[in-house]
């Protein structure tokens, strides 16, 4: 028996926790990537603001998308988007679902929150950043592991998985979006000016995008061809086996939903999203720009969220 209100909070707790981890991965990878790219590329700290979809809030506060501003904004500020605030939200949701979640999970979330609260500001400096973000990512992994290892496969756990899968599916499209739409042209433009081979930077860029999703190694084993835009996009969006690909997460959603009551409408919406994903001609889209396609995918995923909310979270009548 799971209360609708509790289901909703469990779902959001998982989404926020996943968002914490994803944001930490992004910050870490970008901090490394920007050291590798030549000066003058369009790719910059601004990109992180775009991926996380926080342009309005950021521009309301800062004029310059400098490293310091962006990192502070996404790491330690009270704005609803920073890792610290996302952790506070995770903690708040887990505080109100303590009766269905394992005690140790709450305790670790609580501990991670206090750790971040004490140390987040220090990560604005490059020297301490990597260590801090790694620690946060590890803690998130620990919490996921704890839930997987101790929770019964009941409705509450289903909503943990749903929240996590949807958040991941969404985040992966954002990362791909940035790689293809925003960055590629800039790298190409620059290369055409200098008239040198485009490969090195494109290569570095896509490699780091894979890394931000912990996908580099798996991609290597799977694709066995030098890192290139089309294969990476295909891998991140369409690969069925890789746990952070959009397709894999949509499949997970279908499987988990199967066990929940009244799932017809949600399942239908997920199938619709899957079709849109699979039917796309990636090669052609890459030539014309992926932007519109990614936008459509994100709209479909937003629709999945709303259907889930209407089916299980809103009090009947």
């Amino acid at each position: 028996m799971l209360l609708s209100r509790v289901a909703e909070r469990v779902y959001w707790q998982a989404r926020y926790l996943e968002r914490v981890e994803n944001t930490a991965r992004l910050l870490n990878v970008f901090s490394g990537l920007l050291l590798d790219l030549p000066k003058g590329t369009k790719l910059g700290w601004r990109t992180l603001v775009e991926i996380t979809g926080t342009e309005d809030a950021f521009d309301g506060k800062y004029k310059q998308s400098s490293e310091r501003n962006v990192i502070r904004f996404l790491l330690a500020e009270n704005n609803g988007f920073s890792i610290l605030d996302l952790l506070a939200l995770t903690r708040e949701n887990s505080r109100t679902t303590r009766e269905v979640m394992p005690t140790e999970a709450f305790e670790q979330i609580n501990e991670l929150y206090y750790f971040a609260k004490e140390n987040a500001a220090s990560g604005v400096d490059r020297g301490a950043r990597y260590q801090l973000l790694e620690e946060i990512i590890n803690c998130c992994q620990q919490i996921w592991g704890l839930m997987a290892g101790t929770m019964s496969r009941d409705a509450a756990y289903s909503f943990v998985r749903i929240g996590r899968a949807l958040e991941r599916a969404d985040m992966t499209t954002r990362v791909v979006d940035v790689g293809s739409g925003n960055l590629m042209p800039s790298v190409q433009e620059q290369n055409s000016v200098t008239d040198s081979a485009p490969e090195p930077y494109e290569n570095i860029l896509w490699m780091n995008i894979l890394r931000s999703q912990s996908a580099y190694q798996m991609y290597r084993q799977h694709v066995r061809f030098r890192v290139n835009a089309e294969d990476v996009v295909r891998f991140l969006l369409l690969n069925e086996e890789f746990p952070r690909s959009t397709h894999h997460n949509l499949i997970t959603l279908t499987k988990v939903l199967h066990k929940l009551p009244n799932n017809t409408r949600v399942t239908r919406q997920i199938n619709k999203t899957k079709r849109l994903l699979k039917d796309a001609d990636i090669e052609k889209l890459l030539r014309k720009g992926l932007l519109k396609h990614i936008d459509n995918l994100q709209l479909e995923m937003a629709a999945i969220h709303f259907t889930i909310a209407e089916t299980w979270f809103l009090p009947n009548k």
């Binding site: 028996m1 209360l3 009766e99 206090y114 409705a155 009947n316």
Partner: protein, 481 residues
């Protein structure tokens, strides 16, 4: 920091651990010598370990006046309080006796009113009681029991005996802290549990509570649907509501999660509506049901009261049970025990003066600076006057209030509350304590092994409420071994 019992001085008070400088009382001897053997570093380490455990375990409470900080960490002292099993057995008996009698009283008040007709308790007291609910007249809850969960505050006076200070029959809280205090102490002093003492466990409480609540179910089911009804995350006891729900495996619901259809109570789940059998409500009577009580209540559930009247759902505690949780009725409890059970009270009351009685009121007004004055219906230590510590203005103000509303006040001599040692910044120091055991009653009765010890953390203070700077300690009921 080292523990030195030779310089520990409880003044003129009864100290529960040390009988005279350097000498521990018998049940506490092993504890006292163990503590004395710890180095400064070890003590500090244990203190820090406890603070850390409380922080990571998320043991928190809310203070209403503390805006923006809705969960504060629980103030805790690591030195446990020790009570011998033999002494506790008697206290256990006394508490069960008291609650049995109080339940007879509540049932009588809402039904035959024999005790009023026999003039053992004055009728006016009930008629003027802020906690009497006329809507409950004629109701006969299962086992004729109204107060299923009771938190009774006990204190020790200079003679070292337990006295009853008050009975909390509405929505008493604190039991989760009793459980968590034990969890923390086990982490801090595992060696004491293993080698020194036979300490009675307290962990069975949630199972006992679930059994008590399940016994109230109107439907005969193997596992009836029990829910904990909370006002929500901003309530001072939210931690406890969620804690108890989790430990019982019951749903933690807010008013908006429940709906009443055809006089039956349902909760909204992902499967649709599911019928609820027992509501352990942690909100006050007046907020339970806007269609019967406070119309503006958004915490309650419309139709809940009617479902209860029709016998389709059990409410614990029953609405109206608070009629016996009144500081004026309290003074009659010894008579109530005699009247219904024909037994002598095992646990004594603190001597009290009723302001409604003219002669006693005179005494109170003349000796206000020596007495503690309590309003009939407040809880949490609010609205009290501690005569010896009050200013002239406060004394004058209470004189005025007592004259205006004598029914609303009673007075007691300032009890020399017993002390126990706490670990201060540098030395062990005596602090005043009380004890809140929890008593359950449905088809049978149960008393916690010990209870929640509350400590006035401020030197010399008598106020133990967590909302006003109180802390707490683990309480050990120890066997004779």
């Amino acid at each position: 920091m080292r523990v030195n019992w030779n310089t520990y001085n409880p003044g003129g008070f009864f100290d529960e651990l040390i009988s005279s400088p350097g000498y521990a009382r018998k049940p506490a001897r092993r504890l006292a010598s163990y503590l004395r053997g710890l180095t400064h570093e070890e003590l500090l380490q244990k203190k820090t370990a406890a603070e850390l455990a409380i922080k990571t375990m998320g043991i928190s409470f809310t203070v209403y006046s503390d805006a923006g900080n809705i969960d504060r960490e629980w103030p805790f002292d690591i030195i446990p309080r020790v009570i011998a099993q033999k002494e506790w057995n008697r206290t256990d008996e006394g508490l069960k006796q008291r609650l049995r009698a109080l339940n007879c009283f509540i049932h009588d008040v809402y039904n035959d009113q024999k005790i009023l007709k026999d003039k053992v308790v004055p009728k006016e007291l009930i008629e003027n009681s802020g906690n009497f609910r006329k809507q409950c007249v004629g109701v006969k809850p299962k086992y004729n029991t109204w107060a299923h969960i009771c938190g009774t505050d006990l204190i020790k006076d200079g003679d070292g005996e337990f006295y009853v200070l008050e009975d909390n029959l509405r929505v008493p809280s604190g039991v989760s802290y009793m459980l968590e205090n034990r969890r923390v102490t086990k982490r801090v002093f595992p060696e004491l549990f293993e080698n020194y003492y036979d300490i009675r466990p307290v962990t069975e409480y949630p199972a006992q509570l679930l059994e008590t609540l399940s016994a109230l179910s109107p439907r005969k089911l193997k596992s009836p649907e029990v829910v904990v009804l909370t006002p929500g995350i901003y309530n001072s006891a939210y931690f406890e509501h969620s804690y108890l729900a989790q430990r019982m495996g019951a749903e933690l619901v807010e008013g908006k999660d429940l709906v009443v259809e055809k006089d039956k109570v349902y909760m909204r789940t992902i499967d649709g509506l599911t019928q609820v059998d027992v509501v352990y409500r942690r909100i006050d009577d007046l907020f339970l049901d806007p269609s019967v009580f406070n119309k503006d209540s958004v915490l309650g559930v419309s139709g809940l009261f009617e479902s209860w009247l029709k016998g389709n759902v059990a409410l614990a505690n029953a609405p109206g049970a608070g009629v016996a949780d009144d500081k004026i009725i309290y003074t009659y409890v010894p008579d109530i025990i005699k009247y219904y059970l024909d037994e002598d009270p095992i646990l004594p009351n603190v001597p009290s003066y009723l302001c409604i009685n003219k002669a006693q009121r005179q005494h109170v007004l003349q000796n206000l600076d020596k007495l503690v004055v309590k309003p009939a219906n407040e809880s949490g230590g609010y609205g009290m006057l501690i005569g010896p510590q009050a200013s002239k203005r406060e004394l004058a103000e209470f004189k005025r209030r007592i004259k205006a509303e004598p029914r609303n006040y009673m007075a007691q001599p300032l009890i020399s509350l017993s002390t126990v040692p706490i670990l201060g910044d540098r030395v062990v120091e005596p602090r005043h304590v009380d004890l809140r055991p929890f008593i359950l009653q449905a088809d049978k009765s149960y008393v916690t092994a010990g209870g929640l010890t509350r400590v006035a953390m401020v030197k010399g203070s008598y106020v133990v409420n967590s909302s006003q700077g109180g802390g707490s300690k683990d309480t050990w009921i120890i066997g004779d071994s």
